[in-house]
Symmetry: C2
Subunit: 117 residues, 2 copies
């Protein structure tokens, strides 16, 4: 039960470009593997953000390809093989730029949304 594949009507989907930032954020806290990233983001956002594996893994390769993430195989607490991702120096820098951009965008959109005549 409680299959998290349940999708409420009007459930917010991710906006393009947001995913990378979120991934970088959770990977910045400590090395983490893909499967856990999904759960982490879901948990922190109180189930508001849902990330599919079909979105996650391509994003992960993209980020690694761009030199923003690096990966190492390791063992989880449950004794399984998993690929742990962590930020590179460039990743950290990129993350800060993305965050700044996101805040700018938020503010700008708010300005428009709250504008009256």
């Amino acid at each position: 039960m409680a299959r998290h594949t349940e999708k409420a009507p009007g459930d917010a989907e991710l906006l393009q470009g947001t995913l990378d930032m979120l991934i970088l954020k959770v990977a910045a806290l400590r090395p983490i593997h893909g499967y856990a990233i999904v759960q982490r983001i879901q948990q922190i956002s109180r189930e508001a953000l849902q990330i599919r594996q079909g979105s996650l893994y391509p994003a992960l390769y993209r980020l690694e390809n761009q030199g923003l993430l690096k990966s190492d195989w390791g063992k989880t607490e449950t004794g399984r093989e998993a690929k742990y991702y962590s930020l590179t120096k460039a990743g950290r820098k990129h993350f800060e730029a993305e965050t700044a951009g996101w805040k700018r965008l938020c503010d700008a959109v708010s300005l428009v949304l709250e504008s009256a005549e």
Copy 2:
């Protein structure tokens, strides 16, 4: 290399899904034509938001096709023919839903971005 998403510093790009909401917002204030929408949003957001015509018009047709906008030909202050867009009832409803979704997303992303260990 050749990362084609090369953007000039300080130049914020829109996130997918945001455009519709912004258009609905400015059209909600009063009927407005396409060319003016671009300028309005740019102005209100203090040049932070840039909308290309190549993004705008497809969005306009999309919204009209979905029954969220309706259009009427009219004359501008400068005496030119222009297509004025305004919100339908469904458009108003949709706009409110989009706004709510946007706020939820903002909050959720903020939660993640500000999360610590």
